[in-house]
């Protein structure tokens, strides 16, 4: 289908191109609401961010809305976090996202579009604190 092909081509053209960096402060109230939502009462999260908190810190600019021309819904395929330094409350973190890969796979229930993205998180001292690799799927 020509429309589908062009969506994939347009998304593939973005591979490796970094999105606009986004900066945010790790706020105590936000971390508390996040830990509460998970139901994690660990007092450690009064000073530090829990392992998956970075996904909540900032919406990373990837401009993937045109992927919505493909299929009818999104699925999260997986996430991989790499932690290089602790993320503490009060830290000012800059996140930069990029599309790492785009490919189509056909399965038993039709074809799927895979979008692999990577985000790097750097604190105010220019230390990379974490990297996230994620797989988003259109089905």
């Amino acid at each position: 289908m020509s429309t589908t092909t062009s969506v994939i081509d347009r998304l593939r053209a973005r591979i490796g191109v970094a999105g606009e960096p986004v900066t945010a402060t790790v706020e105590a109230g936000h971390v508390r609401r996040f830990a509460d939502a998970i139901g994690d009462p660990n007092p450690r999260w009064k000073k530090e961010a829990p392992p998956t908190f970075l996904v909540a810190l900032v919406p990373v600019a990837l401009h993937l809305s045109e992927a919505e021309e493909y299929g009818k819904g999104w699925l999260n395929g997986g996430n991989r976090f790499e932690y290089l330094a602790p993320v503490m409350i009060g830290d000012r973190i800059t996140a930069t996202g990029r599309v790492a890969d785009v490919y189509e796979k056909s399965g038993s229930s039709g074809s799927l579009l895979f979008i692999i993205f990577e985000t790097e998180y750097v604190n105010e001292s220019d230390t990379t604190v974490a990297r996230l690799r994620g797989t988003m799927i259109r089905r």
Binding site: I38, D40, N42, P50, V55, G77, G78, Y83
Partner: protein, 130 residues
């Protein structure tokens, strides 16, 4: 406490509700309708609203950090979502030690639905502080 290959992490049983999905949607800033709008979820072929993959990752993160306590830090944490989970059913997080090399420990972690099916699987590596 000695850490050995084969050691099991204490189970963490969660009882997710639609209220919790809304709470998590707000806390993460993920307002995709499949997590709180039953009609929308059905319109895209789901049986109803489903748990956020990242909420299940959050549960598994808690499993790991509860086990570590103040003995160390998480270095990598990887999860794959293999199946959907619905609110109103218990979600059980489990894990076991798969490798110990000096201060570095690898854990296999997973989340099971009410039928014992592993709908989320993952690996965490942890560095112990002493």
């Amino acid at each position: 406490m000695k850490v050995e290959v084969g050691q099991e992490l204490p189970d963490l049983v969660k009882h997710p509700t639609t209220r919790q999905l809304v709470q998590y949607a707000g806390a993460q800033g993920d307002f995709y309708e499949i997590h709180y709008d039953q009609d929308y979820a059905r319109s895209v072929g789901l049986p109803g609203v489903i748990l956020h993959g990242l909420l299940k990752a959050g549960f598994l993160g808690q499993l790991v950090t509860d086990w570590i306590g103040d003995r160390g830090t998480v270095k990598t944490f990887e999860v794959s979502y293999r199946g959907i989970d619905m609110p109103g059913h218990p979600y059980t997080c489990r894990g076991r030690v798969t490798r110990v090399e000096g201060k570095e420990v690898e854990l296999e972690v997973w989340g099971e639905d009410k039928d014992g099916k592993r709908t989320t699987v993952g690996i965490a590596t942890v560095e112990l502080s002493s």
